[in-house]
Subunit: 642 residues, 2 copies
């Protein structure tokens, strides 16, 4: 039997501090390696072109653009424009803004996105969740009913801060912050928001004049059922009819995906039909309220309306950051999902800057927060868009609407808008995903439900912050309580695996093999020391001299900090006092570099650090004079002699 293995741990590798720092910095902030375009051998013109292509993705696709692609983009652009009109008006109402502001938001921002956007399928527009969140934060400070002008300007200001925030996140490569909104949080938040938005629509559908200012379920239902005398049946009948029609077209689309355009056009159809109907029957006199006058004309400049007055500044910043963050999370998620369907990649940080600049320019031109709404982008993708040109087409359509058609939308019944919102929101309740989460991971489900119930019963910001907080707590718990395993050997192999997972693994008397599967650092160092000590105590039972070797497989330890090194060193010294040999196996590159430089190297010594668990066990086994080297204990406790 050989006592030293053929392959040893590579202690000679030496990486300089500079290269370590550089690679760490790069992985943290530039995981997509954007500089590969301008490094290496290339001409100045090529380099300039690459930089331009990076900064303005339009430079990349426009030179190869042709009529064939335009045909697809034209169709997609017109389709999303038909969705933009009713959605724009509806969501502006959700945000307590004049309906025309919703139309403005689909004119200027898509132009910016066409130039800067890196996604092929994303369609720009306003979203329901951010609209209602904006209304709830800004509405707390300024009433949209009492001072509509101030409220409007505050909303523009918060869009400006959203833009600054999003641009900064992208510029400083902090895209990873968005990752802290987990899928579970987003699903819970969207579901909860959808429900409170649907409840808000009871106002439009039942033809009520007032509704509770609070968004939680209890306030809204209380408000609705204390005004039963104000319910108007005409409005309700029309609302239910529209909802059924919209659901039917969606059902059709699900059955025959090629008919997606029926579903995409149906909101516009509802608006047009509803408007005609209200015009003909003189709806306002029969309990069917309409949108009211809409001014013709393009976006007025609003750069002078931004409010940087200290009284309102904090509200604008809070609203800007929170809604910007939510909008960004939705936009990035939509961009990523669609890119995946296209077998394509998008650059998160660049998208953030595109969204940010779009919102800054938007806030100067009477637009409120825009992002990439899921529904519109999915329709855009289904309609076969090839490039960001479809956004340009939509923008042109909206220009025509703003210049010539806007006044005709004055007859749109509010109930039609409510019906459109209700059906859109039903699509955001992913109960099937929630069930899947429940099956897979109870803590994730808890995070999801905390967002859901937080939004429904308290308020939207509390719901999302609570859920993000729980997510971070969970992250820290993961880190503070890493898994440890006791390993055993699979028969006739040199493979060591967790004995809980592979119960017929065998172990050797006097040698315990433990595995740590996580970086060792300050939040978990003392837990790990206690846990390892407990593994040893449990193994030893009452016989203090039972264990002679502790082999720690640190192949899963990808990094270690100063507290962790100190812990291993302390552990080694305390085992030494108990006459137990402390052995390490398979240190990873970062860990090995630190062990080399530390006191631990003296405590353990090089020859007790092995490349594999099997080599460590073989060597320990050979050194174990007392025990018959061939006698091993099988998992269930019976002895076996090979």
């Amino acid at each position: 039997m050989e006592t030293r293995p053929t392959h040893e741990v590579n202690f000679d590798l030496r990486r300089s501090f500079g290269s370590n720092l550089k690679s760490g910095f790069k992985e943290t902030f530039f995981p997509d390696d954007p500089f590969r375009r301008i490094t290496g051998k290339m001409s100045v013109s090529r380099r300039t072109r690459n930089v331009l292509e990076y900064l303005f993705p339009i430079v990349q696709w426009l030179p190869n653009y042709d009529l064939k692609k335009f045909r697809y983009d034209l169709l997609a652009g017109v389709t999303i424009a038909s969705l933009a009109v009713p959605q724009g008006i509806s969501y502006a109402r959700l945000a307590h803004l004049p309906p025309i502001v919703g139309l403005y938001a689909s004119f200027i921002p898509p132009l910016i996105y066409t130039i800067l956007g890196s996604s092929k399928s994303v369609a720009v527009g306003t979203v329901a969740t951010a609209s209602i969140l904006l209304a709830s934060i800004v509405g707390e400070k300024v009433s949209p009913v009492d001072s509509p002008q101030l409220y409007l300007h505050l909303v523009f200001t918060s869009a400006f801060f959203s833009g600054i925030f999003e641009t900064a996140l992208g510029f400083f490569r902090l895209g990873m912050l968005v990752d802290f909104l987990s899928r579970s949080t987003i699903i819970g938040f969207m579901g909860g928001t959808a429900i409170i938005i649907i409840l808000q629509q009871l106002k439009g559908i039942l033809g009520l004049k007032h509704l509770s200012a609070n968004t939680d379920v209890i306030s809204v239902l209380h408000s609705v059922f204390t005004q039963t005398n104000q319910w108007t049946w005409q409005s309700a009948v029309l609302g239910i009819f529209f909802i059924c029609f919209l659901l039917l077209t969606r059902f059709l689309k699900n059955k025959k995906p090629k008919l997606f355009w029926v579903s995409a056009m149906s909101p516009l159809a509802v608006v047009i039909f509803g408007g005609l109907f209200a015009y003909l029957v003189n709806g306002d006199d029969h309990g069917i309220e309409t949108v009211g006058p809409l001014k013709k004309g393009l976006n007025p400049l609003s750069i002078g309306d931004l409010i940087f007055n200290s009284q309102y500044l904090m509200t604008a910043i809070k609203a800007g950051i929170m809604t910007g963050f939510i909008a960004l999370a939705e936009g990035i998620a939509v961009g990523r999902s669609l890119a995946m369907l296209n077998n394509d990649d998008i650059d998160g940080n660049k998208e953030m800057m595109a969204f940010g600049l779009m919102n800054i320019v938007g806030s100067f031109t009477s637009c409120y927060l825009t992002t990439a709404p899921f529904s519109k982008s999915a329709v855009n993708h289904n309609a076969g868009c090839k490039t960001a040109m479809s956004n340009f087409v939509m923008s042109i359509c909206m220009m025509i609407v703003l210049l010539f058609l806007a006044p005709y939308f004055r007859y749109t019944p509010l109930v039609a808008l409510s019906a459109i919102i209700v059906v859109a929101m039903i699509g955001l309740i992913h109960y099937d995903e929630a069930i899947e989460i429940f099956k897979l991971d109870k803590f994730d489900f808890f995070i999801c439900m905390s967002a859901f119930f937080g939004v429904i019963f308290i308020s939207m910001d509390v719901g999302i912050l609570l859920s993000v907080f729980l997510g971070i707590v969970r992250t820290l718990l993961y880190v503070a309580r890493p898994s440890t395993y006791k390993l055993g050997k699979l028969h006739n192999t040199s493979i060591y695996r967790d004995i809980e997972q592979y119960p017929n693994c065998s172990t050797i008397e006097g040698i315990i093999v433990l595995q740590i599967g996580s970086p060792i650092f300050f939040p978990n160092a003392s837990y790990l020391r206690e846990r390892i000590t407990r593994w040893i105590q449990e193994e030893a039972g009452f016989d203090q001299n039972f264990i002679q070797y502790v082999i720690l497989d640190i192949g899963g330890v990808t990094s270690i900090d100063n507290t962790g090194m100190e812990m291993l060193n302390d552990l080694g010294k305390s085992l030494k006092k108990k006459n137990i040999k402390f052995v390490l196996s398979n240190p990873k590159i970062d860990v090995m570099e630190k062990i080399k430089m530390s006191k631990l190297m003296k405590t353990i010594t090089k020859q007790w650090i092995f490349l594999t668990v099997d080599e460590a066990v073989t060597t320990c086994h050979f050194s174990l004079g007392k025990v018959d080297p061939m006698c091993i204990i099988v998992g269930d406790g019976t002895k076996e002699v090979e």
Copy 2:
């Protein structure tokens, strides 16, 4: 060549939700398994006894206590009492409290600790860092000079909240929170605090009447050097003499550890000698200020003095929690280090409850915050204490001091106290450890320095909070940017290792083996997808069809959440579109359970999940029809035919 390995992944294992939850809960909150004492077969009386032993550790050691042990504890108790008098008076002055309060703190709290403490070597007392932090937080709200009574009562109230907070942490098993104060933070914080405390002593040594209320270096030095006319040389000479004497005794102790008692007794010697000197030369008239009158008598009750008035409540709670946390961190760290020297273990959560109850009772009896100071506990350990009885002995000594000797300490010169503090603080500046941290880990050093410079140049709470915040950011960065490795095979083995670490590993054309060494969950899921995609792109170069198999070794993935599962599933689907086979190897138990239940199982299918990388590679290699199965590429790019 066999295509299926002999050992397969164990998919049959089934753990119930209940048992998973239970084990997760236990590892998180009860890693020390305290209930093992009362489960299993044992009589009721045995069980009661075990519970009593758990709650009151004194029940455990008192029955076996004998005179031989008492001799050691008596010596240790007297030694630490001799340290308690000067330290108590000095630290009370640091906290701007009447000197007698410092003596009270060494009478009642040690009694409580004797009953509840689980450490053998810990000695109870006040600490410099928490004292000055307390003064800086409470002093911001209430001036100790203008309203000393209110200030004193607020300090008692904050000790009460410290106690409640510490007890709650222990009771709810949240001891892990203390782990978030990393070694680097503590070393930086202690070093910074030591420096500002030493600077504060310039007041006593130079005989100044007033000093800046701010603790930062610049304010203090400015204050000292603008009052040069007030410096008194008598005081300065005496101060330097005392400092030299104390440093000499410490030097002696370091040379001959057996003479530790010389160093331990020296502060008392300085106090007594200084007092005699001041009495004889009538020091107060010659620029040598003294402590002033001290009342005889035991701790008066202060339970009625606690202030729960809303005006001061938040300050008391903030001061209580922050100082309690710092004191706890020092106490637990001291307890752990000494336990390790004794080859012993202490129970962190139980210690927290002991400290907490000690502070609650203390706040009722005119004591301020106490914990286990490092200096006193180390002296206790060196003096050979055997049980917590040494605290009882110290308490009795203090009772005698309070009842009979207190008035004699009125002549203690302030400069003597300052000298004692300066020398104690010099011992807290661990510059050697800071150098070690710098060598091992630059980010850790940055965390350490942020605490150090934050404390020195801004304020103590900013320093520590900044450092803890950076520590948590680092934790989240670790989590958000886990390491990934490309693996290769070591010659003539079935061992796969990181090709950066082992450059002569060989890889096979068309197969890329990647390894993830961290849990996969929402903060890192999209980074991992991007990183894996980039590995594949880098490997493939311009030839899209180059790679046919991606083997992902997830042996280091100890857990996975819903976002992570979704990411793996998306990755599998997107690879499938590119005609690349996605293969997994070595799923850990938690991950395997989730894969079994998820959509991923359908995307990958059971037969492409292997127990080891080698088996995965062998199978892929065999299926790779096109490529000569024996042709491998060696690390440096040359081909090699086996």
